[in-house]
């Protein structure tokens, strides 16, 4: 019974972190946007989902938060995703106008800190450091669930959401849109010089990635029923970045591997371990050290990550009509049929007689 509870909780976090990793992978892995505020987008998704599903704060309890609209289930979650995108819109409008990637990263860190301080200290917003508690459990009323069966149902639901988001994200990362994002990652100025609106693409990438963050945050809120500032310290952003880099930056499957390798095994799993030496902080600190070492080892020995970014090939798109084996003759016309790389090198030399 206990073991099943552990397993289902880990499964939930596996799905959750996969969704979060896909969003960051689009932003950082494919577009090169160093979004060090990623966890703030998750938090906005969680808070908005919370205040939309909770009722009005009860007088006399000292709780205070905005809205309290008691919306029916899927709405708060979707609104959470959209709210995170809206934050992305706001930040992107300011940051992408002028800033290049490294400065943008600093802006993102600042945004994260400013938001954190505002939400912690301005209690009428999301009840400050205490955060939101007691969010209603989705499906619990309709399916007549107890707290235990709720975990199973909601984890299964999260799995479905993850599957849907996987489908959406793999469509995106196979598209010409994504190819332009990767060109921007390599050299935004050249992309601009080819006539493309780099700002628009960066913005689209930020918004879609933020939506994934917001949905992740909303799911976390619904699953746990509570969310406060201790859940989104800047260390959490680091965990997601580490997961992505270790799993394989630029690859959606790598993002899944990273979700399993880092947050599930080294953050969520150890929460079930008994305390060591009477110090409750000891195991988390050891986890952090291990993640740091894993990250360094990855960057040192396998910088492309467990499952590296895949190379795009077009052979299938052409179909059998025109297999790209026999190149059509160029104007030079007399270039011998060469194979592989050395062939072109050689042909450059052959042309010397011109």
């Amino acid at each position: 019974m206990q073991l099943a509870y552990y397993a289902i909780t880990l499964a939930f976090f596996f799905f959750l972190y996969s969704i979060l990793n896909w969003g960051l992978n689009l932003q950082f892995g494919r577009t090169g946007i160093l979004n060090f505020a990623y966890i703030a987008f998750v938090a906005v998704g969680a808070y908005i989902t919370g205040v939309l599903s909770l009722g009005k704060p009860i007088a006399g309890t000292g709780e205070s938060y905005i809205l309290g609209m008691t919306l029916p289930f899927p709405l708060p979650l979707i609104a959470g995703g959209l709210a995170a995108s809206f934050l992305g819109l706001f930040i992107g409008l300011i940051a992408f106008r002028r800033l290049r990637s490294d400065y943008l990263a600093i802006v993102m860190i600042s945004v994260s800190i400013v938001l954190y301080d505002i939400i912690t200290n301005y209690t009428p917003l999301f009840d400050g450091a205490d955060g939101l508690n007691g969010a209603p459990e989705p499906f619990a009323g309709a399916l007549n669930l107890n707290p235990n069966s709720f975990l199973y149902v909601f984890t299964a639901f999260t799995g479905l959401v993850a599957a849907a988001m996987w489908w959406v994200m793999s469509r995106i990362t196979r598209s010409p849109f994504d190819r332009t994002l990767r060109a921007i990652r390599d050299d935004p100025d050249v992309v601009r010089g080819l006539g493309k609106n780099v700002f628009g693409y960066q913005m689209a990438s930020l918004l879609v990635g933020s939506f994934f963050a917001g949905i992740g945050g909303g799911l976390l809120m619904e699953f746990v029923g509570a969310f406060n500032t201790s859940a989104w310290t800047s260390g959490e952003t680091f965990v997601i970045f580490a997961a992505l880099i270790i799993g394989g930056l630029g690859n959606n499957v790598g993002a899944i591997a990273g979700s399993l390798a880092v947050p599930v095994i080294f953050v969520e799993l150890p929460k079930f371990l008994p305390q060591l030496g009477g110090n409750p902080a000891l195991i988390p600190e050891i986890d952090n050290m291990i993640i740091g070492i894993l990250l360094i080892a990855t960057l040192w020995f396998r910088p492309q990550g467990l499952i590296p970014e895949r190379k795009t090939r077009f052979d299938r798109l052409l179909g059998p009509a025109r297999r790209p084996t026999a190149p059509p003759p160029g104007p030079a016309g007399r270039r011998p049929a060469t194979t592989a790389r050395s062939g072109v090198e050689a042909s450059g030399v052959e042309a010397s007689g011109d």
Binding site: P176, L194, K196, V208, K311, P328, G348
Partner: protein
Amino acid sequence: MTDSLGMTGAAPPEALSVSGLSKSFGGLQAVRDASFAVAAGQVCALIGPNGAGKSTAVSLISGALRADSGRVRLHGADITGWAPDRIARAGLIRTYQLSREFGRLTVLENLMVTPVGQAGESLWNVFARPRQVRAEERRHLERALDVLATFGLHDLRDSYARELSGGQKRLLELARSVMAEPRVLLLDEPMAGVNPALIDRIGEHILRLADGGVTVLMVEHNLGVVERICDHVIVLAMGATLATGSMADLRANPAVVRAYLGGALSDSASG
């Protein structure tokens, strides 16, 4: 390849013209009151010693830098102060002094990414019109393979661009520009760091593009190449236009010879 076109400024319309262009970086005036024009269909060279302001001029024309004063016209339209992407969409594509390929894209992708306004670049179309996106991808693919074949890069199509040699990167950059279907091509030292054999090949490609109706303005140091492939030459010195004309004109221009290009010019004249 006669020299008369730019001198008379008569028959063919100007594809690109620059008037009174100036740019300072702090106390350094990189370009000062430069004026010149390139006739449509010409292959024109922009030459001058290091620090003459050639690359700055290229950046000013392409919109990468903002001019302090002066005007840039592209096929008659005033493009001064336009953003680089807007200038590119108007038909002016530039290359760079140091190759700037998309290293983590394959050679083929470097070309496939180039066409502007692809249906599949809109997320809406990716989900709502997948067939249209696929059909367009196939068209771009056919064309990209043709261009790659022309430039002798076909066998390298699935290599990452960062894996290419320096010369191959030069060819790729040119191929990528061709894929953009420019009306005016601005080449910043297209032959820098390239072996003599490849220089000839790149020269042929440039001439072929000009035959196809593309106007070319190229910054170049190699005067032998300039002599062979360029119709018209613009000399920049200290950021200002010193002289324009054919290489023959410039050789006959004592101001250019003595004050500025003396050694190199008389060498190629005597040789």
